[in-house]
């Protein structure tokens, strides 16, 4: 299988996919974490 990072646009697409994955991670962490301004 070809490494997507060998292609510039493969790299950019991987970046967007990673952004979506990390967005859901952030949302999950925040829904179980300390509320804003909370202690």
């Amino acid at each position: 299988m070809k490494n997507p990072l060998d292609s510039l646009w493969g790299t950019v697409i991987c970046g967007f996919i990673l952004t979506v994955a990390l967005y859901f991670l952030a949302a999950a962490l925040m829904s179980h974490g300390v509320p804003a301004g909370g202690t």
Binding site: G15, V34, T39
Partner: protein, 175 residues
């Protein structure tokens, strides 16, 4: 916002634009330019005159960006009464988004100083290396640079959405 915060934020932006701007120059322009110049037998001046200068500003802008960013995080209150720097890196409360951005930026800084620059020194002949070692260094530096380009996309998303609007980010990150 006080003057200290403003200067930290200004410095973070200036250095960050230089760092990521040069990263995009390397990936969007230089890789293909060197390929075309090599085919034409004209690549040597790029390696001799352009890349060392670009790498100098690239690696030191990376350090400056991180230092200004760490200073900015330290001005934030942490959710558990601790500092914002620790709270961000521990992914606590409302600091989760900027914490993810800070982790991505830190990984990128380590990539610059731990993989890209040591391998570029071999490629440019600053450190002696055989042709085989240079070929390997080229591949490692290329993949580390491409990894940073990939990481810059979520990093900039979390930097843009995670820092200023401490109340507003819940609209974005909570369903």
């Amino acid at each position: 916002m006080n003057w200290g915060d403003a200067i930290l934020r200004w410095g973070h932006f200036l250095a960050g634009i230089m760092w990521i701007g040069l990263l995009y120059y390397f990936n969007f322009v230089n890789v293909d330019a060197v390929k075309a110049a090599t085919a034409a037998g004209e690549a040597a001046p790029i390696g001799k005159y352009v890349v060392p200068r670009a790498l100098f500003y690239f690696r030191w802008a990376a350090v400056a960006t991180w230092v200004f960013g760490a200073g900015l995080l330290s001005t934030l209150p942490g959710p558990n009464g601790g500092g914002g720097f620790l709270g961000a890196f521990l992914l606590q409360g409302s600091l989760v988004p900027i914490g993810i951005g800070a982790w991505l930026g830190t990984i990128m800084l380590l990539n610059v100083w731990g993989l890209i620059w040591p391998n570029q020194k071999r490629i440019l002949g600053i450190v002696p290396a055989s042709e085989e070692e240079k070929a390997k260094a080229r591949r490692v530096a290329f993949l580390a640079s491409r990894t940073n380009t990939m990481l810059s996309i979520p990093m900039l998303f979390f930097m843009a959405t995670g820092f200023h609007h401490q109340d507003g980010i819940y609209n974005l990150f909570q369903h």
